[in-house]
């Protein structure tokens, strides 16, 4: 199917990605080509076939609900690109 610029903008927003200029043209072409490739699936008659969703053969795998400290506060912050002593830092997103 033909993928439009508008469709790319909408998808990019949903995926939290940005494409500009030549990148946008190229992702548009790629998606057009790949969706055409995937449309081949329509050749198969799947009337009455249930979608296969779960691959696991295990059912009702339960465990006791025990409180464990998996990681500490300091560990949780360790890999953050911006942080203060207690929190992840984010840009201001509420207006006063």
């Amino acid at each position: 199917m033909e993928i439009t610029n508008d469709a790319i903008d909408k998808l990019a927003h949903l995926a939290r990605l940005e494409f500009n200029g030549a990148d946008k043209e190229s992702i548009k072409q790629d998606l057009t080509q790949i969706t055409a490739f995937c449309e081949k699936l329509n050749e198969i008659d799947t009337t009455g076939v249930e979608p296969l969703i779960y691959m696991s053969t295990e059912t009702n795998i339960l465990r006791d609900d025990i409180i464990v400290e998996e990681i500490t506060h300091a560990e949780a912050l360790k890999n953050a690109p911006k942080k203060d002593s207690d929190y992840f830092r984010v840009p201001k997103f509420l207006d006063k």
């Binding site: 992702i27 696991s56 201001k92």
Partner: protein
């Protein structure tokens, strides 16, 4: 290379030590740095660990993998060590915990030597999408090693470790194993815990070994398999003694897919050689028959719809806030997410996130995503049906030997088709192995793939051992 049994014997007899072995591997890795197999070597740490294992062995202790030197793909977590999935978005990230497979191999005495290059987020068939640059095939440096576990496979191929743990979502262990003349195994879905594996397509991903021989592969599977409280999809099926490689001596039944062997994309020489192997099997009293499998051309499309959908969801966690790369540009929260992700992810990863997002939008969900799930059921049922009347499905692992750098990078669909014979096992959940089948007249190795019944690992390994003796170059 000698298998672990022989190596262990050499350590016990004093012919070598684990320390000396690690030193040799490290030296080879440094000497062959141009192959770009390792992103990071944990030299000092692995030598200290080796010294401890030498002591344990001397005291008559030491586990099932005592002294086995193992490399990890850069998507398997190891506490206190970097793991980046060969992506800029995770550069500098250090894991807070270990994957279940790492805990299990360490408990049995393995020495972890470093982490290996791969396609970014395991998305690729040539190891060309890595943020650290491509890995070179040690056999011919102008050719790709395959992917996505390219670094792991070259590390084993070039003698930089005994074995490696990779991950296989659509062929990422078996395809490079075939391209580099090694053994690669994709377990039954659920056989190995995925805890601590950076997720790509969660209903496809499995961790598995890459080794130089069948015994080591079976041994590693014995150690890493089994139920796990941290992964509800890890199977409670009993883990059998995979290293008991005794041949059954019973005639076996092999199915080959006519659509695969007579595929126009299959290299002519690989076709001829495959049929020659079938004749050898028949001469040994086995049955080799062609079966109908009408879905070959639909495997890769179904695979891409489903894995990209899962990836678009799994990779939403990389947002530039709690960990990973964060843009320098100023802006609001949404723009922080968008800029960090756009600057941090490479081209192929973005392409797959976009396709996955597309097939999950309400307008196209049924037409693409649900449709592919239905086709997946037909593929699984058809594969299951074949394996009801046959022990194994046998095919070449790949349609060609290792291709040249840049050969397929311009056309995503051509690259995706490199997985055509391997994705079936991931779509259906069956176990599959690639074993070295010989050398093509172009000088490159190729692999033969066996797919077995669900949780039929034991039988797969024991027959692979027999087959490897038949086809050994």
């Amino acid at each position: 290379m000698a298998d672990y049994k022989q190596y262990k014997q050499q350590v016990l007899s004093g012919e070598t030590t684990v320390v000396r072995t690690v030193q040799d591997f490290l030296a080879k890795a440094i000497q062959q740095k141009h192959l770009n197999a390792f992103i990071e070597l944990w030299g000092e740490e692995s030598l200290m660990r080796a010294a401890q294992i030498d002591l344990q062995i001397a005291e008559g202790k030491g586990g099932k993998l005592a002294g086995m030197v193992i490399a990890l793909k850069d998507n398997i977590c190891y506490k206190g060590h970097s793991v980046t999935n060969s992506s800029k978005i995770l550069k500098g990230f250090e894991s807070l915990y270990s994957s279940t497979v790492v805990e299990r191999i360490i408990a049995e005495g393995a020495v972890i030597i470093g982490r290996c290059n791969c396609d970014e987020f395991a998305m690729g068939a040539s190891n060309e999408t890595s943020a650290y640059g491509p890995v070179l095939n040690a056999r011919d440096n102008t050719r790709v090693p395959g992917g996505s576990s390219g670094g792991c496979t070259v590390a084993v191929q070039a003698g930089m470790c005994h074995a490696a743990l990779g991950s296989d979502t659509g062929g990422s262990i078996r395809q490079p194993a075939a391209f580099c003349g090694q053994v690669g195994f994709k377990p039954s879905y659920g056989r190995v815990s995925r805890w601590g594996l950076l997720s790509y397509g969660s209903s496809f991903d499995q961790i598995g070994p890459i080794t130089s021989n069948i015994y080591d592969c079976a041994l590693l599977m014995e150690v890493i398999s089994g139920t796990d409280g941290k992964d509800a999809t890890a199977s409670s099926n009993k883990v059998e003694d995979y290293t008991d490689l005794q041949a059954s001596n019973k005639p076996l039944r092999f199915a080959y897919l006519d659509t695969c062997l007579n595929n126009k994309g299959l290299d002519e020489e690989l076709r001829t050689q495959s049929f020659a192997i079938f004749e050898q099997l028949k001469a040994l009293g086995h049955t080799v028959e062609t079966v109908e499998f009408p879905y070959l051309d639909y495997l890769v499309p179904a695979y891409y719809v489903l894995t990209t959908a899962e990836a678009s969801s799994n990779l939403s966690r990389y947002q530039g806030l709690t960990y990973g790369y964060r843009t320098e540009e100023k802006g609001d929260l949404d723009s922080l997410f968008k800029k960090s992700r756009s600057e941090g992810f490479g081209r192929e990863v973005k392409r797959r996130i976009m396709l996955g997002t597309f097939v999950l939008t309400s307008d196209f969900y049924d037409a693409y995503y649900t449709k592919a799930q239905k086709v997946r059921r037909l593929i699984q049922e058809s594969t299951e049906k074949i394996l009801e009347s046959y022990d194994f499905i046998i095919t070449p692992t790949t349609p060609s030997t290792a291709f040249k750098f840049g050969e397929k990078t311009k056309d995503p669909v051509a690259m995706y088709l490199a997985d055509i014979f391997t994705v079936q096992a991931n779509l259906s959940g069956h176990p599959a192995i690639s074993i070295p089948a010989g050398v093509h007249s172009n000088g490159m190795p190729w692999g033969i793939q066996l797919m077995g019944k669900q949780f039929g690992e034991k039988k797969l390994f024991s027959f692979s051992e027999e087959l490897s003796k038949i086809v050994s170059p």
